[in-house]
């Protein structure tokens, strides 16, 4: 069975964007109370990191249009982010935690650690990030 209910956050990045991302996920959980707390926590961690990456890098400090779509399908949570900022220079297959006293560089590795699937592709001028949680019963 395919559920069609999804949430869309269509915005221009700014100081409230990270809160907007979390608020959107809170709405998703309210629509889908069967999603376990552990899955919610993990998706929230990953979404926060991808959102921060878009704010910081895709826009190079300048606001950029960003769209987040989230849905619960096939016993997993799927979130996609698209933006029209600068392409991310990242190889998701080579993510690793930095040295323990590094002050940067953990974000995408952290996102990868809490997801079943984590993807990025650039199509034309659009970045697309795909986040899929572990399955739950």
């Amino acid at each position: 069975m395919v559920r069609t209910d999804r949430l869309v956050l269509d915005t221009v990045t700014g100081p409230a964007t990270l809160d907007d991302i979390q608020d959107s996920l809170m709405s998703l959980w309210a629509m889908n109370p069967e999603v376990p707390e552990l899955i919610r926590c993990r998706v929230a961690i990953a979404a926060a990191e991808v959102g921060a990456n878009i704010i910081e890098h895709a826009g190079l400090g300048v606001p950029v249009r960003m769209r987040m779509e989230s849905a619960v399908r096939a016993h997993s949570v799927r979130v996609t982010f698209t933006d029209e900022g600068v392409a991310a220079e990242v190889d998701l297959t080579r993510l690793a935690m930095p040295a323990e006293l590094a002050e940067r560089g953990r974000g995408l590795a952290l996102a990868r650690a809490v997801l079943a699937e984590f993807g990025y592709r650039r199509t034309g001028v659009v970045d697309e990030w795909t986040l899929v949680s572990d399955r739950f019963c």
Binding site: Q22, A44, I45, A52, L101, E103, R106
Partner: protein, 113 residues
């Protein structure tokens, strides 16, 4: 954002109590406040996270920055009161071995150095 309350807890140590979401939006404020405490002579810092809803890698980076500043001045930085979310993020990033937790702020610097 930022400019969270900081209180002395005796013996030259100070506790900082940030709240809300420690993310990219406030990480620079947290880093600056921690470094400001060290520059002000407080190199033994406890960060009470009991009011923190969640933390991301930017917030972690700010804590690591404060830890490094404190240690470079001969002190240390510990945390207390982490939520389940904060504990999970610390473990996932292996920073649970670096940002040590104390049961309470007052006990953070008790015992042998």
């Amino acid at each position: 954002m930022g400019d969270w309350p900081a209180e002395p807890i005796g013996d030259g140590a100070v506790v900082l109590r940030p709240d809300g979401r420690l993310n990219l939006a406030v990480a620079a404020d947290l880093r600056d406040q921690l470094r400001g405490l060290v520059q002000g002579g407080h190199c033994r810092i406890v960060v009470d996270l009991s009011g923190v809803e969640s933390i991301d890698s930017s917030g972690l980076g700010a804590l690591v920055s404060g830890l490094k500043a404190a240690r470079q001045s001969g002190g240390d930085l510990l945390i207390t009161g982490p939520s389940a979310q904060v504990v999970a993020v610390l473990e996932l990033t292996n920073l649970d071995k670096v940002l040590k937790a104390s049961p309470t702020a007052e006990e953070a610097f008790d015992g042998p150095d």
